[in-house]
């Protein structure tokens, strides 16, 4: 029942991308997002898309698996796309396509909508590559390492990373627990599959209460276990697995630098997103 949560699920494989340093991957994903927002025309987005396809091939994660993360936010994409279609307020160089009541659809609003949907699509796909190729532990390690400068302003970086890794660590445990409780209540005749939204929400109560009780119990046990091992925060703590930058990360940085430079050039020579209308028209 709860096994289809793909977003942020690690896909085990051996690949170039899997072997990269998590810090490098986080920074490069930010570069990837910058590239998406830097692109002012469709050629830039196409370049980003090609890079994305290349990354997926390189990471050896099946395309279907990456696409599944889109399913979760498909609604958001469609919703923002429709809003943008109807309420785009920019100037238009052409006759409006539809002009009815408060709705105006122009060529520009269509272009804008497509552009925005593509951006969101690339954004989610790109970030899901990060989570598909990096274990949660490596990811929090990377974040902790990247946030180290914040320690200067006494920001509890280590504690934050610990909270994150504990939360991530307990997702599968609590998922298993949920499935077990669901099975147990089903065996007592609970019905989760039929009925309206309110009835279904009510039916979840016999699952949520035991789940909450057991989450508290686990939290207390974990706290005791940490105390028993004399856990005392970040002070004097060393790492078993040290993060190290390798030639892979250098290659990655060069590659993304090339991508961003490429997009800047595409922006300079191939006009804005709206010029696509004239560009298509000139083909005929």
């Amino acid at each position: 029942m709860l096994n289809d949560v793909t977003f942020g699920q690690y896909y085990p494989a051996k690949s170039f991308v899997h072997n990269m340093d998590p810090r490098a991957k986080i920074v490069l994903i930010i570069a990837f997002i910058v590239a998406i927002f830097l692109a002012r025309n469709f050629f830039g987005l196409a370049a980003v898309f090609l890079v994305l396809v290349f990354l997926v091939l390189l990471s050896r994660v099946p395309f279907g698996r990456v696409l599944r993360s889109i399913k979760m936010i498909l609604f958001v994409i469609v919703f923002t796309a429709i809003l943008n279609l109807f309420f785009y307020s920019g100037e238009s160089a052409y006759e409006p396509l539809v002009d009815w009541w408060i709705f105006t659809i122009t060529y520009e609003s269509v272009v804008n909508m497509v552009f925005l949907a593509l951006r969101l699509f690339l954004l989610v796909m790109g970030t899901s590559i990060l989570t598909l190729t990096t274990t949660p532990v490596a990811l929090t390690d990377g974040i902790e390492s990247l946030l180290t400068p914040l320690k200067w302003i006494r920001f509890p970086v280590h504690e934050l990373a610990l909270i994150m890794s504990i939360a991530l660590r307990f997702i599968p445990t609590l998922t298993d627990e949920t499935n077990r409780i669901i099975a147990a209540q089903k065996a007592r005749g609970a019905n989760f599959e039929t009925g309206g939204l309110i009835r279904r929400a009510k039916a979840m109560l016999p699952v949520l209460i035991p789940l909450l009780v057991s989450a508290f119990r686990r939290a207390e046990d974990l706290g005791d276990a940490m105390d028993a091992r004399c856990y005392s925060g970040a002070k004097g703590r060393t790492k078993y697995k040290k993060l190290r930058f390798t030639w892979r990360d250098l290659l990655g940085v060069l590659f993304f630098a090339a991508l961003i430079t490429g997009i800047v050039f595409l922006n300079m020579y191939l006009g804005t997103k709206f010029d696509i209308i004239a560009q298509i028209a000139s083909l005929f």
Partner: protein
């Protein structure tokens, strides 16, 4: 109701790197009236198998019939099946949720017997609570979360037997109980077995528990039934059990030691029978020619 499984297969997370074959063709028949034991270590598929019996896991390969219900049939009435096949999970106390013991025990009844009136329901709840050895007047209004561990487990079991299932399945029912608690639990199961509850199936790691209580048992190993028979038959093949990484009851270990010294005892491996036989032998030997 008889349980007949043929060629049952099941795979967790199919078509993914996490795919694992939990069941690889299980053939097993559990007759009505049996007190059946399922043995096997973690990951042998025993829990997956028992969850098939009341359709908590849907059949994906092979065939399974429970009484008149054909679980391969999509039109099979699973809700009705679940009211007849009760399932007590491992650590059932973690599924308690209601404000009072009374409400928690009544949960199954409210789901399965919607037409039942208040009085009949209250009577059934009372009977279930008393069957598991708790005092109704003391319990009904209390919150299940303030009870002791043993009491919680009893309440949870009451919540399953309140619908009087014809087949009762228990996954490691005695796990985490003290010896007295274990004994009381088994006495409880024997009390209801043979009444409205025709068949009891217990999943267990504890070989002594199987030897003492079960009429028949099956050993699961790597998703298959490795051995099947009465406890006496199974535990007489101790070599095979050790090879599967399993243990034998204390009585079987004693019998093995005696055999090494040339004393062969024919026993069914229950404590009483074993001690009787040993005592008889002792008396016979003390009576005359001592070796």
């Amino acid at each position: 109701m008889q349980i007949v499984a043929k060629g049952l297969t099941y795979t967790y997370n199919p078509k993914s790197p996490f795919a694992s074959n939990a069941l690889k063709g299980v053939d097993l028949t559990i007759g009505e009236g049996e007190f059946f034991g399922i043995i096997g270590h973690t990951g042998s598929g025993k829990s997956t198998f028992v969850q098939h019996l009341n359709a908590l896991i849907r059949l994906t390969g092979g065939s399974l019939r429970v009484g008149e219900y054909d679980l391969a049939d999509k039109k099979c009435n699973f809700i009705e099946l679940r009211s007849k096949v009760g399932m007590v999970f491992q650590y059932p106390e973690y599924q308690l949720f209601a404000e009072t013991v009374e409400k928690d025990v009544a949960f199954g009844l409210k789901n399965f017997r919607k037409d039942m009136d208040e009085e009949a329901r209250a009577a059934a709840v009372r009977e279930a609570i008393e069957t598991v050895g708790l005092r109704y007047a003391e319990m009904e209004g209390r919150s299940p979360f303030e009870l002791s561990g043993g009491q919680k487990r009893r309440v949870a079991i009451a919540g399953v037997i309140v619908t009087k299932p014809v087949i009762l399945i228990l996954d490691e029912p005695a796990a985490g109980l003290d010896p007295l608690g274990k004994q009381e639990l088994m006495e409880l199961l024997h009390r209801i077995h043979g009444g409205w509850c025709k068949t009891v199936v217990i999943v267990s790691h504890d070989m002594d528990e199987i030897a003492e209580n079960c009429t028949r048992a099956a050993v699961f190993s790597e998703g298959k039934v490795a051995m099947e028979g009465t406890p006496a038959e199974i535990f007489s093949r101790s070599g095979e059990l050790f090879a599967l990484g399993l243990d034998v009851p204390m009585t079987a270990r004693c019998a093995l030691r005696l055999k090494e010294r040339g004393i062969d005892i024919q026993t069914d491996y229950t404590c009483r029978d074993f001690t009787d036989k040993v005592l008889a032998l002792w008396k016979a030997k003390g009576g005359g020619d001592a070796q």
